[in-house]
């Protein structure tokens, strides 16, 4: 009783052509780690399975000639994110998040493109990508376009992609920041869905003032958030414990604004502040060095 047909293009053009004709009837198979779970939990089987894992161009990681952009192919697995020196150097928070992403088995299969396209609020790669102002390079038969990551997610598990779209790569603004971090809270230390995650990168001037900062919150809001108000609070200042506490309060306020007061907020409201402080406190020390 077979209901699916499998298509296994070798090139991007073939894949895009197929999606043009059959997009709404097609499951895109990259790593498969989310798709298999969705199908098991009752998502309707579509007639076509488009296996894009043979498209080698989706697996490249490149630095632009001016070193200002890092292109990470959508088919790059989390294990490669974990091991590629280029990523460790130019997107260190993304590198850090790969250590606690699900399990080794899943990291070996799961792709960064899949994590982005799946639009799960808990996608661990999202906050680290957001702080690089990452854009998704999306292909369809009409050509390529880019979607800023923050616009990629319309709601929990709802992406801005059209059925004929294929995420080709993530384009990151590179930075080797003086300070960076990724933090998450899960119910256990491995194989844990994030209850909350966040990423930051920052630089300081010679007076120890924050000269650059980007901060992103994940998992505890339906869509990923870049927290500009929190960033502005720190910009140009010497970070102090007081400033950090202020930032934490502001962050919690913003989060509650987005999510409303649901039962889970009684944990999330303090925890988001706690996690923020845990992440930012070392930045205070670093700024004073």
């Amino acid at each position: 009783m077979t209901t699916m047909t499998c298509i296994r293009p070798e090139s991007l053009d073939e894949a895009v052509d197929f999606l043009h004709d059959h997009g709404p009837d097609t499951h895109i198979l990259a790593g498969g780690t989310d798709l298999m779970v969705d199908l098991r939990s009752g998502e309707n089987h579509r007639p076509f399975l488009l296996d894009i894992s043979r498209i080698e161009t989706l697996k490249t990681v490149e630095l632009s000639d001016d070193q200002a952009r890092l292109y990470i192919g959508s088919g790059v697995t989390l294990t490669r994110i974990n091991t590629l020196p280029l990523i460790k150097e130019h997107a260190p928070a993304l590198h850090k998040c790969s250590f606690t992403f699900a399990s080794r088995q899943i990291r070996n299969m799961a792709t960064i493109g899949g994590n982005v396209a799946h639009a799960s609020p808990c996608g661990d790669t999202i906050p680290p990508l957001v702080i690089h102002e990452a854009e998704a390079v999306v292909a369809n038969r009409d050509g390529n376009r880019t979607i800023p990551l923050l616009e990629m997610t319309k709601g929990a598990y709802r992406s801005a992609l059209h059925p004929e779209d294929l995420v080709v790569a993530l384009k990151l603004k590179t930075r080797q920041p003086g300070f960076f971090d990724f933090q998450k809270i899960g119910r256990r230390k491995a194989l844990a869905t994030s209850r909350m995650s966040m990423a930051v990168m920052a630089d300081k001037d010679d007076q120890g003032r924050i000269s650059f900062i980007r901060f992103s919150l994940g998992a505890c809001t339906p869509t990923p958030q870049r927290m500009h108000t929190v960033e502005s609070l720190f910009a140009g200042k010497n970070p102090t414990v007081e400033l950090m506490n202020q930032g934490a309060g502001l962050l919690a306020e913003k989060m509650v604004e987005i999510t409303g007061r649901r039962p889970s907020i009684s944990y999330k409201e303090p925890a988001v502040q706690g996690l923020f402080k845990r992440m930012i406190y070392p930045m205070i020390t670093w700024c004073r060095q």
Binding site: M1, V37, S41, I185, R187, R188, K189, A190, L191, A192, T193, R195, T240, V241, E242, M244, N245, S266, Y267, P270, A271, Q273, G274, L275, K277, R278, Y281
Partner: protein, 762 residues
């Protein structure tokens, strides 16, 4: 205790069955190849409580490859199951009492067809008001789950004069504790296969902890003679109590009875979560009084536990909870009561410890609170109150032998003290607070105040080959290895030289359930008795052959020899032939039933168990005061197991128990309707585990085989309270409900002020 006097006991030999598991042999039910096998799947209730007005199977039967759909009316025998009280139908008749209740059973040629048919069975329900909270279920006017009412059982233990003792008490501590439903999460989802034998016997392989009970139950469901059904325990991928119930066995029996064709039922993980027993959630009100020295003089305990839709092992849980409420402490005045209540929660049954882990949270928290009130050391108050030789327990039993609790306390003391000084004083990042906690436990080996015998047979053939026949299900804990060692020791053979026939109702006699930490002690004794009888016959024959008196003879490596003149010996082969030729018997049955005295229904007076295991765990934790994340860094676990027959197996039980305790303490909670798959229910991974330092204390039990008691359940019991006490030590704020989740720990951190004060401007 030296192992030198033993040939194989006390030695960690390679485990029986390990090679098959390491090489992936098809020994589990899901792996077994069968020709023309039909796939079974149950239609389960969509309502927590509803009458059944009608079931229409027409649409399901019209699906290609669907062979049959069974309902309650197809059950030829008695449609009622339960090991202690029978209240659970195999297929619901007039009503459903939980979301998990099976209503119909589909048999189909493909798994896909079975699934389609399940969706196509149409059941006309008449929804009834449902109740999930046990205290609400006790209120007048609450929906009635069973005709006899919502109280499954109430167990009481009373002794002394509690009121008078509270009157005189220097300090009184009164608290309420709560625990969650826990899912066993054995790695192998429930599974079974069945096929008719050439002679028409219905053969069922099952993943089970109690094949002989399964046999009795299937026979009763089908209304057939005993010999018409044969149950064989397949390799069983863990059980922890949940595979004591009839999970797939009855369905397989029913389909086999009607279809006379091979059938298979393998639960998905989701179905295993939905349909099998859980650990009883408890609400425990506990009040204890102490004198000014810290001696606990009185305990009043009222607990309500939620048994859900069916009794399963609920009566045993309530009974054990009441008996164990004092913990391993001598308390002269007690008033203890545990009520198990029916609700529309999925049914709860046996899980590692039967109510004792829940009770340990209460008594070990109380101990720490008393210690704090009196400015005593948590270890000292336990030493002061801990049972010792001569202690009379709450049920009036005088403890005489093998009381290793004080030894366990002493064993953890050095590490515990070191942690309290060195480890606690090491610098940590400001958001990390460290704490050290300690907890004790006692655990009666075997069933509570009821007969629970085991039998075994040890036989030698003409070639001198010894075979052990035991009905004892090895579910991963290693009983087959240990029972072989016991037989081997008695006969002077290597354990691996003994053939074993295990848990097959055609060839083995009843060993009772693999539960209650009873198999090493009870089945071990039955095996030893059988082996000793065989050994005695061999020795008697050797006396005649070697012309040496029995006292000087030894059984060694397949021979009997003269201890004074080792060259004087005779092999088993020769002895076997001589005995058989004379019409002698080389096949011997052993029987052991621990001596218990049933408990008085009002006072609980009696002897619930012949012997008890004891333990003490110390836990070192780090709490992130900003997020509520708790890391258990180290657990020192001292266990009095009696003689350790196989030390590495004991260590395996201890470490596994600690892991389950970490889950119970910090992360596990089964929420019906929300916990669907392993994505929703977290148990510890390797990354969550502390370093465990197991310490084996061997207070030999005179009535145990070579002095052995048990360790399976004890391993888990002190871990969670030790962790909770450590978290409390870290935060200066106590948590009274399990799990001590992110939310609860963060709440405690906020309440204690650590959350706000963790970072200060330097």
């Amino acid at each position: 205790m030296s192992n030198d006097r033993y040939h194989t006991v006390g030695k960690s030999i390679f485990r029986r069955g390990a090679k098959e598991r390491l090489t992936g042999k098809p020994i589990f039910c899901a792996d077994m190849e069968l020709e023309n096998v039909l796939y079974l799947k149950a239609v389960r209730s969509r309502h927590p409580h509803a009458g059944i007005l009608g079931i229409d199977t027409t649409a399901a039967l019209s699906i290609p490859d669907v062979v049959q759909v069974f309902t309650a009316k197809d059950i030829p025998g008695k449609n009622l199951m339960g090991i202690i009280n029978k209240d659970q139908p195999l297929l619901a008749e007039d009503k459903v009492r939980s979301l998990a209740d099976p209503v119909a059973l589909v048999a189909a040629r493909t798994p896909q067809a079975a699934e389609l048919a399940v969706a196509a069975v149409s059941v006309d329900y008449d929804p009834l008001p449902a109740v999930f909270d046990p205290e609400e279920a006790l209120a007048p006017g609450a929906p009635k789950i069973h005709a006899k009412g919502n109280v499954l059982v109430q167990k009481k233990v009373r002794r002394g004069d509690v009121a008078a003792a509270f009157e005189k008490a220097h300090t009184i501590v009164e608290k309420t504790y709560r625990t969650s439903a826990i899912e066993h999460t054995y790695l192998e989802p429930d599974a079974g296969v069945g096929f008719p034998d050439e002679d028409g016997t219905l053969v069922i392989y099952a993943s089970t902890q109690n094949p002989h009970y399964d046999h009795k139950e299937v026979v009763s469901l089908l209304g057939v003679e005993d010999h018409a059904v044969r149950i064989i325990q397949a390799a069983t991928g863990g059980g922890f109590g949940s595979k004591l119930d009839m999970n797939v066995q009855g369905f397989i029996g029913l389909a086999l009875y009607h279809l006379k064709q091979p059938v298979r039922y393998v639960y998905t993980r989701e179905e295993a979560y939905l349909a099998t027993a859980k650990r009883h959630p408890f609400v425990i009100h506990m009040k204890t009084g102490a004198d000014e020295t810290g001696r606990i003089t009185a305990m009043q305990m009222k607990a309500v536990c939620n048994t859900g839709a069916y009794g399963s092992y609920g009566i045993a849980v309530a009974s054990r909870a009441a008996v164990h409420a004092t913990g391993p402490y001598a308390i002269d005045n007690v008033d203890l009561e545990c009520t198990a209540v029916y609700t529309n929660h999925p049914f709860c049954g046996a899980m590692r410890g039967f109510g004792t882990p829940q009770m340990a949270l209460a008594h070990e928290s109380q101990m720490d609170i008393h210690a704090r009130a009196l400015d005593m050391d948590p270890l000292e108050i336990r030493v002061l109150n801990g049972v010792k030789k001569g202690t009379v327990t709450a049920t009036g039993q005088e403890l005489v032998h093998s009381i290793g609790f004080q030894d366990c306390l002493a064993a953890v003391t050095p590490e515990y003290r070191k942690a309290g000084t060195d480890w606690l004083s090491e610098p940590t990042p400001p958001h990390i607070r460290r704490g050290v906690g300690i907890a004790g436990m006692w655990y009666g080996i075997g069933n509570t105040g009821v007969q629970n015998p085991s039998t075994a047979r040890v036989a030698m053939d003409r070639n001198g080959q010894v075979t052990l026949f035991t009905g004892c299900a090895d579910i991963g804990q290693g009983s087959t290895t240990i029972l072989s060692q016991i037989a081997g020791e008695a006969l002077g053979l290597d354990a691996m030289d003994i053939h074993v026939v295990v848990a097959d109702t055609k060839y083995t006699t009843n060993a009772g359930a693999t539960s209650a930490s009873r198999q090493t002690y009870i089945s071990g004794n039955a095996v030893k008795q059988a082996a000793d009888k065989l050994a005695d016959v061999l020795l008697t024959e050797a006396v005649n052959y070697l012309k040496v008196k029995k006292a000087d003879l030894r059984l060694e490596n397949g021979s009997v020899r003269d201890a004074r003149h080792p060259e004087k010996q005779v092999g088993f082969v020769r002895l076997a032939s001589r005995i058989l030729d004379k019409g002698g018997e080389l096949s011997w049955q052993g029987y052991f039933d621990p001596e218990t005295v049933p408990l008085d229904p009002e006072t609980g007076d009696g002897i619930p168990y012949t012997t008890y295991a004891f333990a003490c765990h110390a836990a070192c934790v780090e709490v992130d005061v900003l997020t509520g994340e708790t890391s258990v860094r180290r657990v020192i676990a001292a266990h009095d197991v009696g003689k350790a027959i196989h030390p590495e197996n004991v260590i395996g039980q201890i470490c596994g128990g600690v892991a389950m305790g970490v889950g119970f303490a910090l992360m596990e909670a089964f929420v019906p309707g929300e916990t669907i798959s392993m994505n929703d229910y977290h148990i510890p991974t390797a990354a969550d585990m502390p370093c465990v330092i197991p310490i084996i204390v061997e207070a030999a039990e005179p009535s145990g085989p070579f002095g052995a008691k048990g360790v399976g359940e004890p391993a888990l019991i002190p871990t969670a309270p030790a962790i909770v006490n450590a978290v409390s030590n870290a935060l200066g704020k106590r948590i009274y409900a399990l799990p001590a989740s992110l939310e609860r720990v963060l709440d405690a951190s906020i309440a204690s002020g650590h959350f706000n004060n963790c970072y200060q401007e330097s």
